[in-house]
């Protein structure tokens, strides 16, 4: 058996005309699909600047507004439930109140008089409070070293949206000091004390 016989035998195998027609049809359909995809992609890419840009700008503006709102909300105080280990609510506290109380301090003869101004007296919880005291405080000298700390202070009555508290401490050498407060405790008649947390500080001179 020579190679010619093999070649002759296999050469007789030819693609049937029906198969050729089917393959041709499939190729034409595929070519049309490819052309449609390419045309669609071009249209899409050309349309992007005109149609997408306003949408992108609107989305960016919306995000900015939401972020600003969230930032503003983040600066406002919030009520938080206090729960026991069973998950039952046993009380509450008010957090992030740093921007809602202004602090001022004056030192004289071993006594520091601290005035806490309630900046939002008509807003809860300040409108309900009758008394206020400092839960935790710290006094730092000009170098940042703590020279006194303590708390809570005596309870002061809130009058005209302000509470004046007295902190008794050891006599301080002359100089610049900073008074730090980590939290207050508010009181109302027939109600549980309300911890108010945040961060406050004010400078005073001895």
């Amino acid at each position: 058996m020579g190679p010619e016989l093999l070649k002759h035998a296999v050469d007789q195998v030819r693609m049937p005309p029906q198969a050729r027609a089917r393959i041709l049809q499939a190729c034409r359909a595929q070519a049309a699909t490819i052309q449609e995809e390419e045309t669609g992609m071009k249209t899409k890419s050309n349309a992007f600047p005109r149609k997408r840009l306003p949408a992108v700008l609107a989305a960016a503006a919306l995000c900015l507004c939401c972020a600003a709102g969230a930032f503003a909300a983040g600066r406002a105080g919030v009520f938080v439930n206090v729960k026991n280990w069973l998950g039952a609510v046993t009380g509450g506290r008010y957090e992030q109140a740093g921007q809602e109380i202004a602090l001022d301090a004056a030192y004289a003869d071993g006594t520091l008089t601290v005035t806490a101004d309630l900046l939002l007296p008509k807003k809860a919880p300040y409108r309900e409070l009758d008394t206020l005291c400092i839960a935790r405080y710290r006094i730092a000298d000009g170098a940042g070293d703590t020279v006194a700390e303590g708390g809570p202070t005596e309870v002061a009555v809130i009058e005209n949206g302000a509470a004046r508290m007295t902190v008794v401490c050891d006599p301080l050498p002359s100089g610049e000091y900073t008074f730090y407060v980590d939290g207050f405790t508010g009181g109302a008649k027939a109600d549980a004390p309300l911890p108010i947390t945040g961060g406050w500080q004010c400078a005073f001179r001895a």
């Binding site: 070649k7 195998v13 089917r22």
Partner: protein
């Protein structure tokens, strides 16, 4: 450097006209079934359309088509092995040819790797180096397969002839 423009999508029609029979013969010898061979040729040409490859010469184009057809046939054979259904003879009856059927039957009874190189070498008259490129083996491996394939074909032909 600017690339030459892509070939038009309808060049598959030209490829079908030029290489349709060559691809069909190869697929038929590999798959031993005319319907599967038709599917493999169609898949080859559809891939040709999708990829739109650029060729430097006609030989390059022919080698690409043969290699792709070979891969499609291997995919089909792998699928057959993993999804056995009807016996091969029942599903794909042998085609009616005017040629010496014993030679064709002997060729198609050989293992796939010998069928492929024998067909490419003796029927499509590719050089050993070109066959090596199509099947991604070394030229010496192609020569070994040709030698072994010839022996097997001779034995199978004598068996068929008896």
């Amino acid at each position: 450097m600017e690339m030459p423009p892509a070939q038009p999508a309808n060049s598959a029609e030209a490829a079908l006209a030029r290489y349709g029979d060559i691809l069909y013969r190869l697929c038929f010898v590999m798959l031993r079934c005319d319907a599967d061979a038709e599917d493999a040729v169609q898949e080859t040409l559809l891939q040709y359309l999708r990829r739109a490859p650029r060729f430097e010469t006609a030989e390059h184009e022919k080698a690409w088509l043969l290699a792709t057809a070979k891969n499609k046939c291997r995919d089909a054979l792998r699928y057959r092995r993993r999804h056995p259904t009807l016996p091969q003879d029942a599903a794909c009856p042998a085609p009616e040819t005017e040629s010496d059927g014993a030679v064709l039957q002997a060729l198609m009874s050989l293992p796939e790797k010998y069928r492929l190189v024998l067909t490419l070498y003796y029927v499509e008259e590719l050089r050993v180096a070109d066959i090596a490129r199509v099947i991604q083996r070394t030229p010496s491996a192609v020569k070994m397969r040709l030698q072994k394939g010839r022996q097997l074909l001779k034995a199978a032909y004598q068996k068929e002839d008896l």
